[in-house]
């Protein structure tokens, strides 16, 4: 009860923030919530199930281009295009997972990294359709659902919040479910899990597909809410970022991804106000984290004060 109440309170807090946030931060928070959905998906694969993927940009881009191309090439309306992006994330995760899960550990990292690079290069190769390096700007007229213009600040914030809230509560339900327990078991001791009758391949594939649906939903929402689809989101940076967000916020903690994205976003935002070497600041922050709180912000909090935090 306390657990659900706490997470609902976080959603309520984010709802309330729209009335006090200045415009600049208002847009930032919409972006943070969408990226947090991506990070939650990463957390389900990495934090919960122990799958260290270095190719999640592929899944984000699948959602983004699934939606973007449905709008720009096929002329679909925003709502079916969003669903196309969601499905693209899941299908891409299934296809990549069936192959990549034949490996484990370092080999899994390398294979996922290579898949993502292949996806990135594919996007560049089909430049005339995908916009290549420059990407695609989605027309404002295509970013409307039921007469509501999602390019406007308040609807954008509320749609981002709705997506985030649904993703958060679904994530919470997942980690408290039987499947969630088996996913954690795979992370902790795969051989023992197998000798309890669980098929590691099937469980890890399920985790990856769920993760892909999250990444796909985030990519799709990003395309519609911010009107831009670009190859940079398929690059290596967007495979590494979710790993850093999750480590910073707390791997395996349901709210960890939100905290990680939020802190990293404003760390970069603040640092770039003072220096062009803002990545140096990020690097130092991560060093401090590794040295003093290796379980991340919420992971450390759970260890020291809030053992009930899922």
């Amino acid at each position: 009860m306390r657990v659900w109440g706490f997470h609902l309170a976080v959603v309520a807090l984010l709802f309330g923030l729209q009335f006090v946030l200045p415009p600049y931060h208002f847009t930032n928070f919409a972006r943070i919530m969408v990226l947090a959905v991506f990070a939650m998906g990463y957390n389900i694969a990495f934090g919960v199930t122990g799958l260290l993927s270095l190719g999640h940009a592929l899944l984000l881009a699948a959602g983004m281009y699934g939606t973007g191309l449905a709008i720009s090439v096929l002329g679909w309306a925003a709502l079916p295009a969003l669903l196309a992006g969601l499905a693209a994330g899941g299908v891409m995760a299934l296809a990549a997972g069936v192959l990549a899960l034949r490996t484990a550990g370092v080999a899994f990292m390398i294979v996922t990294l290579m898949f993502a690079q292949a996806g990135y290069l594919t996007i560049l190769y089909f430049g005339p359709v995908t916009g290549g390096d420059e990407g695609l700007v989605l027309a404002q007229g295509a970013r409307v659902i039921g007469g509501v213009d999602l390019a406007a600040d308040t609807p954008r914030y509320l749609v981002a919040l709705a997506l985030f809230a649904f993703a958060l509560l679904a994530n919470l339900a997942l980690v408290r479910s039987r499947l969630g327990r088996v996913m954690v078991a795979m992370r902790e001791n795969e051989e023992r899990s197998r000798m309890l009758g669980y098929n590691p391949f099937a469980v890890k594939l399920a985790a990856l597909v769920i993760s892909g649906l999250y990444a796909g939903a985030a990519g799709a929402a990003y395309a519609v809410l911010f009107g831009y689809v670009g190859a940079s989101f398929a690059g290596i940076q967007y495979s590494i970022l979710p790993l850093l967000w999750v480590l910073l916020g707390g791997a395996g903690v349901v709210l960890g991804p939100l905290v990680g994205v939020l802190v990293m976003f404003y760390l970069i935002d603040l640092a770039s106000g003072y220096t062009t070497a803002h990545l140096l600041v990020v690097g130092l922050a991560l060093l401090v984290l590794v040295l003093f709180a290796p379980k991340g912000i919420l992971g450390s909090l759970r260890e020291r004060a809030w053992p009930w935090l899922p």
Binding site: A185, N189, E191, R192, M195, L196
Partner: protein, 236 residues
Amino acid sequence: MAAMSLLSARGLIRHFGGLRAVDGVDFDLAAGQIHALIGPNGAGKTTFVGLLSGRIPVQSGTIWFNGQDITRLPAHRRVALGLAYTFQITSIFAALSIYDNVALAVQRLHRRDLRAHSMAHLARVGLKGRADQVAGTLAYGHQRLLEIAMGLALEPRLLILDEPTQGLANAEIDGFKALVQGVVGQTTVLLIEHNMEVVMDLADRITVLDGGRVLAEGAPAEVRANRAVQAAYLGG
């Protein structure tokens, strides 16, 4: 294959390079018994049960379980058929609660009343009061008990216990013997064990392995009287 056997193996072979770990073993296990598997160090006991449980692939030979050829089935499918294995080196989920450890075994079988079933299995090994404790913080003897509770929670037709009393104190060994005697009737037990006292007290039947082959098989008294067995153990 013998029709009455719960498990039968014929001509099982597994070599590792030049090492003939299991070298042509025929084996039959009758349902409802406690069957012990003994032999000197390096006799191939753990490799042999690795072949039975599916953790190690069979090189040649056939295994039947409950009338079904399981030779090529992956380990998790064999567990689902009712063949459970508890690890020689304690292999619990150290970071999870004791409850979660057992619930993982229970939840595949029971859609409902997960908590009640899990607690019943914990009560059986005397760990009910510690359900919320992190498993890795248990004393070694209790971790062994948790390992056995996880095996029993699978409600297997055959429970393979790989050196379950290793590292236990004498009082704990007595508790373990009572526990295993208590499950006869519900499951068949294949016991790999070094402690001869435990073997002689518990086993209905004993198979002796040496050098990857069956050296002797029979009731405890027969095996004890067997000169070849004495030679293998005493180096005579």
